[in-house]
């Protein structure tokens, strides 16, 4: 009661608008969310989609007592750290979210959750934060980094490929990717290489692939790296089938890749043709709001916001952190992926689909062709002691 009164007093101090909002939904103070994401430079289309999906969900909820602050990290770990410090110390946020890249997440998340801030990851899910480094205040709504790659490894193995060539950038998520692939693909490899993060010319790697003579290629190269690789691969005349996680074949970049992507199989926890009412409504609303098809990043941002909002309503605000944490863990919200639950280490248990790039009219998009791994959690649950 005292807390509520104190909150009311502060609400009045904030002015009439704050007070009205406070009365309207029985929330003492607006919930402050700091979003650190990549809005400029090479990986900007990912951050922009996460932001747009997130803000769409907040807008749809009609909640007026939610304040979302968005800042651009330009894919720089030091900048992300600075923004996080500013959000925590000056703006007194309750929740941080938004980081796309695993190396940035490693710079921000451990220190933030130790200070009692909740971090809800809409994308990056490095293994270090899923196993020994897990934390009760850290939740990942998207996936553990290895997930999509594990599903692809399983799919490649199940389809009888015997000699895949695998490559990824040299950073935490890249290493997780190849580890994940090899966890479910246990056969022989034609080769394995790590490339520079942000590299745009893959001629040397493609020549190496040609020399290794593989029967399939698996690559994880998010953002502009994947566009460059696919274009150069198509120009190289190699016709070995290509597999990858959804990142290089998602809505945001298919147009830039062009017809080179047609027919490529990719794994994703989300697709616009997943058949459930929440997903249909999301795809329609996103198109109406932004005039483009949503990407998987947008779906992750959208789910992250809905998770936070549902947990807050259930816990009756953020005053009682333990109740809010428990409500987050229950994950009682309408995910666009359908069934959704958290494993013991706060990472999702979900179906990973296999999709194929197809053309609908003039637009390149994806269609689900199967399930790679059903009800899949991650390999690090046992390492996590909360």
């Amino acid at each position: 009661m005292n807390k509520a009164l104190g909150g009311m007093a502060r609400g009045m101090a904030l002015g009439a608008a704050g007070l009205l909002a406070g009365l309207g939904t029985a929330q003492a103070e607006p919930m402050k969310i700091g979003m650190i994401t990549t809005l400029s430079g090479g990986g900007s289309s990912l951050g922009i989609d996460v932001r747009d999906g997130f803000l769409l969900a907040v807008k749809q909820s009609g909640a007026k007592d939610v304040e979302v602050m968005v800042e651009d990290d330009a894919r720089k770990p030091d900048l992300a750290k600075q923004i996080a410090d500013k959000f925590i110390q000056r703006d007194k946020v309750d929740i941080l979210t938004g980081i796309i890249w695993s190396n940035l997440a490693m710079a921000v998340v451990p220190a933030s959750v130790r200070q009692g801030i909740f971090y809800i990851s809409p994308n990056a899910g490095p293994s270090a934060l899923a196993g020994k480094g897990c934390h009760e205040n850290y939740f990942n709504v998207a996936w553990q980094n290895d997930n999509l790659h594990e599903a692809m490894g399983g799919y490649v193995q199940a389809n009888g490929f015997k000699k895949p060539f695998i490559l990824a950038p040299n950073y935490p998520a890249g290493q997780d990717a190849l580890t994940g692939f090899k966890r479910y693909y246990t056969g022989e490899l034609a080769g394995e290489i790590y490339t520079k993060l942000g590299q745009t010319d893959y001629a040397a790697e493609i020549a190496q692939i040609r020399a290794a003579d593989p029967d399939s290629i698996f690559f994880f190269l998010p953002g502009g790296m994947g566009i460059a690789f696919m274009k150069q691969y198509a120009q190289s005349g190699l016709e070995t089938p290509v597999f990858g996680p959804a990142f290089s074949f998602d809505q945001g970049i298919l147009k830039a890749v062009g017809d080179a992507a047609l027919g490529v199989k990719n794994t994703s926890q989300w697709s616009k043709d997943i058949d459930n009412p929440a997903n249909k409504a999301f795809v329609e609303a996103f198109q109406a709001e932004y005039g483009r098809l949503p990407s998987l990043y947008a779906s992750q941002g959208y789910d992250a916001a809905n998770l936070i909002l549902a947990a807050r309503d259930k816990a009756g605000g953020l005053e009682d952190k333990a109740a809010f944490r428990a409500a987050l863990k229950e994950a009682d919200f309408e995910s666009v992926r359908g069934a959704f639950a958290f494993a013991d280490n706060n990472h999702p248990v979900q179906d990973i689909y296999v999709r194929e790039v197809v053309k609908e009219g003039d637009v390149l998009t994806n269609r689900i062709v199967g399930v790679g791994l059903a009800g899949h959690a991650n390999a690090y649950v046992a390492d996590c002691k909360m």
Partner: protein, 306 residues
């Protein structure tokens, strides 16, 4: 088989180097003649790629797009020289860095505002989409060979321009003594605008050609800019010949390092560790090259006014 592989990788390194040269030539000319550090050079590269992509899509022809990208970058170069850069010649390098860094931000935001956030599509023209067979098997994309040819022709053209023409004479004179050449009645402002626009056009040309290989997106210019700075420092600031030699050195070091360092480590280490160690060393190989060359020749390979 290994021989063909080596040739292919040498060509890749050469192509990468030649592309870097197109960037570095403008940068080094502008620094040599005007004493200006231009961080916005990467933005002109990006602008070339965006205009090339946009015009190519509208007109249906890559070639018109490439010409458009070249001209648009030249025009943008002339425009910023006239509006901003001109005020910076007499200032120290810190002011120049600040102002041209601001230009990067402005160009990035304006490009985002005009063209949107999604990467644009640009494909290589059908004429250049084939492969040239290599001795020993495999093929090399004709488009990449074309980049090498264009880059080397440009280098030769620049050499002729600088050594054989009146404009080149003035550029050389401007490099050695800019007050004297002004006193001799040469309109130094026009000369500066022309040199700046020339450098910008070369960056735009590189952007347009590379745009067909990679993704055309905001921020694509800055990684290339950093390498171009490495090139002009190695080559000797202000020297076009130095830029050519250094860019090919950097291109070959980077490409061959990326491929052969992990393989070399694999001779003594398990594969996974060799891959990690080799990739890590490869990513700093060009900086090691720079450090070694500067320790040997502190002013670069071909110092101007040595």
């Amino acid at each position: 088989m290994f021989f063909a592989f080596l040739i292919e990788q040498l060509l890749n390194g050469l192509q990468f180097g030649v592309m870097l040269f197109l960037m570095a030539a403008g940068l080094t000319l502008v620094f040599g003649v005007m004493g200006l550090i231009n961080l916005a050079h990467g933005s002109l590269f990006m602008l070339g790629a965006f205009f090339c992509s946009w015009i190519a899509e509208a007109s249906g022809s890559f070639w018109i797009g490439l010409g458009g990208g070249f001209l648009a970058a030249a025009a943008a170069g002339a425009l910023i020289e006239f509006a901003v850069i001109r005020r910076l010649y007499d200032r120290d390098h810190l002011d120049q860095v600040l102002a041209t860094f601001a230009l990067i931000l402005i160009f990035s935001e304006v490009t985002r505002w005009v063209f949107g956030d999604q990467p644009l599509y640009l494909d290589i023209p059908p004429l250049l989409s084939g492969f040239l067979p290599l001795p020993g098997g495999g093929g090399y994309p004709v488009y990449r060979l074309a980049i090498i040819v264009v880059g080397l022709l440009t280098a030769y053209g620049l050499y002729l321009l600088i050594t054989r023409t009146r404009l080149g004479m003035r550029i050389r004179a401007g490099e050695s003594d800019r007050e004297m050449i002004g006193a001799l009645g040469v309109d130094i402002r026009k000369l500066y605008t022309a040199v700046f626009a020339l450098g910008a056009a070369l960056a735009g040309l590189a952007g347009g050609m590379v745009g067909a290989l990679q993704s055309v997106q905001v921020g694509m210019g800055e990684p290339v800019l950093i390498l171009a700075f490495v090139v002009i420092v190695i080559g000797g600031i202000g020297s076009v010949k130095g830029a050519l030699v250094a860019s090919i050195l950097v291109g070959l070091t980077d490409t061959l390092g990326r491929i052969f360092l992990p393989q070399a480590f694999a001779l003594v280490l398990p594969v996974a560790e060799a891959t990690a160690a080799g990739s890590a060393l490869a990513s700093v190989a060009i900086y090691l090259l720079m450090a070694a060359i500067l320790a040997w020749r502190p002013k670069g390979l071909f110092p101007v006014n040595a």
